[in-house]
Symmetry: C2
Subunit: 755 residues, 2 copies
């Protein structure tokens, strides 16, 4: 059984722990996210990242380039903190409740991942001796995406008193900034301008507009108890006063609704209607809906490790965060930090396609469709971006973005990572392989892939009969602007191959015509794709029998690992980019990653030798690296190594092992951990020829099981020390390859464990 409840007694009250807790216990539903700030705040002098975010809601900021050069990005997007509706101050008589005054008799924080709520429980004695039990439960509703709730329950234990709640709703919020930390924004300004504050039939509404992008957001707040509302220029405050008797619980429920102008022209009305609709039913009904929703999710995606409780908790936590983070519509995506914080300014990266979709595609592929649709919606901006980059045709998706325009400040490790295009096309294909959703291909996927393939043709060229792609950066950011990056070329080859395939499919199904009209696709162009795919140059070194990361990688200096002091890691914080570029040193899996996603392009021996070559020179300074090494180690039969690489990676956020979880969760790492188990230990692959599994069991575990969705059928895979049992939970029978052998799964099959 997964561990659905994560509870910590006496979670730290030092500033670092509080910041960490804000992330760990944040509530999100894929549309909105609220950091787990204390309603009443912290004492003066404490840092806090007090934020509420909407997926895809942004403003533009100036990004100055030290030297102006044509096409360099000078404007970025920033995910905005949209309002602060968390504030609730509680007065017991004339004493204000605070975790930092009086006496904390008991205190715990809980995340319940089956119920989808977080709870802070406090037993508190005031300086004057009043004792109270305070329970604060928060929820971002999965069934009503606009809604965030706080249920604030107070029971006086040794007295009766007048209770007063001062519940605030503020529009004058800013993003967090810290000039000393390169990972969060260095500066901020008032991105959000309050346009209107209204109090209306017990609710307050604040409508704000972004300074540069011209977007609107409306936040609405109401309570279950009647009170008086005061409004100011940028805030509204509700005061609720009541007499509480000893032992009789008192309960304030605060509903927040958010609506934005990206999704709704009538965002003000939507906000009001959703707020009213939520407040009209007992909070218990919202909780029940939430639990039902999550039960449905967990059925589709649970992953259970037997024999390592901490790991099991961590993995459940990771999956829950992916569910919290993923957009539920095509207006958002999955930010590098989800909706849990402002790290990387809320930007979307390749993380989505290569580290998170591999999870969703096997569990809740409908979310993949949203994610890919979001890319499709921004295709015109990707076309513009390609034009800025000098291309005459095709589209180039941005390396980092919110609304679709490139936000990379340092193009050698940003815009130059054109593999983002390959990643998106790869994800389209993976989605198609997992679901067989031809309709999506016909309506969006084909156009995405054709435009991406046009870009490959546009930037590449033939040299001595081979198709070369020059001047790009692969996933390894310690080696920038190179020629024929193996990962990029292999993906391009795959994309181009599939473009031809899809063209043929569309033709067969008589669906080519609309595409022929829209961006125009001709048989001649498709022939060009086929030729380039066939002729794609994939660097191979005869002497070492490996795929070099790029054309000149092997001739570079070796990195002096022995002479690098421990405190000089991660290298990017201690060495100039040019120094890194001059060396054979990798930040993360690059060729090794290509060997995972496109394993049929090379012999097992080449993959083995390459793995052994790159593992010596990879620092794993990126949290996206070890999981990939683990997967390839699994594939190569290096079970112990696979376990080593998997290591503590899954515990990164829950146990804050990188010490920066305060900035937000690491969503790609979370997906990567899932991958290391399902694609790694269980050896799952989605190929044109079908679904492949080849499970092994790490020695430290007694077993593991997971569910997966494949072409409309649901399967359960359970591995123990002797056998792998696969059960068809529902849906049609499916063919699959187990340890390379083809089977038909009609109801259940049990195969002895190999390897």
């Amino acid at each position: 059984m997964p561990h659905f409840v994560y509870e910590v007694n006496h979670f730290g009250l030092d500033n670092d722990s509080l910041l960490l807790g804000e992330t760990i216990f944040h509530n999100a539903n894929g549309y909105l996210g609220v950091r787990a700030n204390f309603e009443e705040g912290y004492p003066e002098g404490y840092k806090t990242v007090r934020g509420t975010y909407i997926n895809g809601f942004y403003d533009f900021s100036e990004m100055k380039q030290a030297e102006k050069l044509y096409g360099l990005v000078e404007e970025k997007q920033t995910m905005l903190n949209v309002a602060d509706t968390q504030g609730i101050r509680l007065f017991l008589g004339d004493e204000e409740f605070s975790m930092f005054g009086g006496e904390l008799l008991d205190y715990s924080r809980t995340l319940d991942m089956a119920k989808g709520t977080t709870t802070r429980r406090v037993r508190w004695r005031s300086p004057q001796g009043k004792e109270a039990e305070i329970t604060i439960r928060r929820m971002a509703s999965f069934t009503r995406l606009s809604i965030f709730t706080i249920e604030y329950r107070v029971t006086l234990l040794n007295c009766s008193a007048k209770l007063r709640f001062v519940s605030s709703h503020r529009g004058d919020v800013m993003n967090y900034h810290d000039p000393d930390d390169p990972r969060v924004a260095a500066e901020s300004f008032q991105h959000l301008l309050v346009r209107k504050v209204e109090a209306e039939r017990g609710s307050s509404f604040i409508t704000s507009q972004t300074a540069k992008s011209g977007l609107f957001v409306c936040s609405g707040v109401r309570h279950n108890l009647a009170g008086t509302i005061t409004t100011g220029e940028a805030f509204a405050v509700s005061e609720v006063t009541l007499d509480a008797e000893e032992g009789m619980p008192v309960r304030l429920v605060k509903y927040t609704a958010l609506a934005d102008s990206i999704r709704h022209t009538d965002y003000r009305q939507v906000c009001a209607a959703e707020l009213e609709r939520a407040a009209a039913v007992p909070i218990e009904q919202l909780y029940a809906e939430q639990e039902a929703y999550l039960t449905g999710c967990w059925e589709k995606c649970s992953l259970d490790i037997h024999g390592d409780d901490d790991l099991n908790s961590a993995l459940t936590y990771n999956i829950y965060q992916l569910i919290q983070s993923v957009t539920k519509d095509a207006y958002g995506n999955i930010a590098a930090k989800g909706l849990s914080g402002e790290g990387y300014e809320g930007h979307y990266f390749w993380d989505t396609e290569m580290y998170i979709q591999p999870f969703f595609v096997l569990t809740m592929p409908e979310f993949c469709k949203n994610l890919l649709s979001m890319r499709y919606k921004t295709l015109d901006m990707a076309r513009e971006n390609a034009a800025i980059m000098g291309c005459k045709r095709g589209a180039l998706f941005p390396w980092r973005t919110i609304m679709g325009r490139e936000c990379s400040g340092h193009y050698p490790s940003g815009t130059a990572q054109v593999h983002i295009n390959g990643d998106i096309a790869y994800a389209v294909i993976a989605y198609y392989l997992a679901t067989g959703d031809f309709e999506f291909i016909a309506s969006m996927g084909a156009e995405l892939i054709f435009e991406i393939c046009r870009h490959w043709i546009d930037i590449g060229n033939y040299y001595k009969g081979k198709f070369h792609i020059n001047g790009v950066t692969g996933p390894d950011e310690y080696t920038c602007i190179v020629n024929n990056n193996y990962f990029t070329n292999a993906l391009a080859k795959y994309n181009l191959y599939w473009a031809v395939k899809i063209y043929d499919l569309l033709k067969q199904h008589g669906r080519l015509e609309p595409l022929e009209r829209k961006p125009g696709i001709s048989a001649a162009e498709v022939a060009e794709f086929a030729r380039a795919s066939e002729a794609m140059y994939l660097p191979y070194d005869e002497e070492l029998g490996i795929n070099p990361q790029d054309d000149s990688f092997l001739q570079k200096r070796a990195w002096d690992f022995a002479g690098t002091p421990k405190e000089h890691h991660p290298l990017l914080l201690h060495y100039h980019p040019l120094h890194l570029y001059r060396h054979q040193v990798c930040k993360q899996a690059d060729t090794v990653m290509a060997h995972f996603i496109l394993e049929d392009y090379q012999s097992r021996e080449t993959i083995r030798r390459s793995f052994e070559y790159y593992e010596k020179i990879t620092t794993h300074d990126s949290s996206l690296s070890r999981c990939i090494f683990s997967i390839v180690a699994s594939r190569l039969g290096y079970k112990e190594k696979a376990c080593e690489y998997f290591g503590d990676s899954a515990k990164l956020d829950l146990f804050n092992t990188h010490n920066n979880t305060k900035d937000g969760i690491h969503t790609a790492n979370m997906g990567g951990n899932y991958m290391a188990i399902v694609y790694g230990f269980a050896g799952l692959r989605l190929k044109e020829s079908g679904l492949y599994l080849a499970p092994v069991l790490p020695d430290q575990w007694t077993g593991y099981e997971f569910t997966l969705s494949y072409r409309g059928s649901a399967m359960k895979v359970a591995v123990d020390s002797r056998a792998c049992r696969i059960t068809l939970a529902h849906g049609a029978a499916q063919e699959l390859y187990l340890y390379g052998e083809k089977h038909t799964l009609a109801s259940e099959m049990v195969v002895p464990l190999q390897g």
Copy 2:
């Protein structure tokens, strides 16, 4: 005879012409430079770059990087506008003189390059009908480097009147800025803070301090006529009133002295003393000194073209600007725009070593010694820079700088141009070859070269027996961060070869010991230099028989020149760097330049084939390119092509052909034009084996002549359609190679023209 007088009647009074005139007629002496602003200013609404600069006087400015990465430069230096002592307003009775009011009866601007002065002559009729002849002569004294003078002469032609001069001295000056032009600074702030304004015995002194670098500058002003001085917080104004009679000239002489804390701890006293010393003698004596100084210069460096008057004027102008621009001490250098404007923020580039020193080394090699000494003075900062770049030993000079620290904002086309190191070492060697100044080598040159060679060893590595240098950018800024740039590797090979040579020389002369103690040089290290030089990898393509610009240059896409509209040139203003990097397209001579400076490294055939290959793909978007192509064309016997490349390049500034001379002169281009004649048409080379000449005569000319200094002897080379005549003007007999044959020049030799 060179054309020493450049005079323009009715030089335009539109804003563009005025800005151009500010550059064209600026006065400089290598220490200070004053733009040719009208003393009385322009009417409101006109732009003006009103500036006075000191070579090497700077402040720091913040340079924000769009993304923070280790070691990226975040602070640059800016050459400062130090004071405004140009202001003189003239009143004739109650009417103020202005070029833009009343009636201009006559008007001319003159630069006299033999006398070293500029003159504005005006015959003016006031609105009330007063006629006056006004002659304003300005000079930056070569014999008193602190001194700038304005002689303001007024003769009333048809009346007598009270004349009033209001002569200002302002400290509250700022640098010019224009947010719309990437070539000048986008922003500025009050870099210079006035600390003291004093009026003392007829002089005014303003002492200012830079905001960040903490430097001081003192400007002093006095006049030949007694007046009343008023001082304000940041200025002093002298008023002189006198009665002028019809036909009787009246003359105000305004002396400015500048002194700075970089050169003098007692800068205030130095300023006062120099001011007094200048004002103590009649201005005519200063003029006479100036003319004598220049006579001496012209004797050493004149270059005379017969048969093309415009060209002859332009070349004389160019040489004069080099004399004006070159520092006269080791505290400055030669900025990209000399002391004539603020373009490129007054930074020093490789232009000095590779485009300007080739002129001085043959004419006034003592200036080269200053320039190289300035590099030597900043060697410690170059060591720090190398350390920032990850090197364990050696020094890396900055790509652009004033005081010695790197100012490159975009490292791919800045800091990555480590050939700057090779250029400096090359210039040390050239200086030694031209002068035989072993003392300089022993005291500074050797250490420079050893530290530079250590850097080559530190960044390079052996691969398959060859020494590689990876991750660098050559001169061609359209191809960045490459491996084994031919130009860089060839220079490194040459540097390393000379390091060994110099070590041996020092040893022979018993001068090794101090160096052995200072940065430490061992026989083992020198053996390492020798080995790397020997094993240096110089890319060569067997199929094409050319030197590829770098390892992967030839495999890149061809640039679609036919499909590039004319208005898309220069390419850097219309294409993203990555797009340029992906193509075989060169901004400027790179391999071709290597084939000029190190012609013995390749066969004539390789050089020829390379020239023909690169000329098809070079856009000459840099003003440093055509002159090099012209030189190599000359060497290959392509006389017509050499003339074509030489073309109008020499007229760039005097005729403002690039339309940006307002920002300042192009000093490197000026040196390059000299080179195209002396190293190009006359085929001059400085080699270890001696001095080489191989003159040809362009068909358009009837002849040309120039003087040169070689190992203490002065020679005159005169070429006409039949013969080359070389005369020993003074000094010992010298050996030289003429058309490859060795001769001894004892007094004169005449050889028939070849080729």
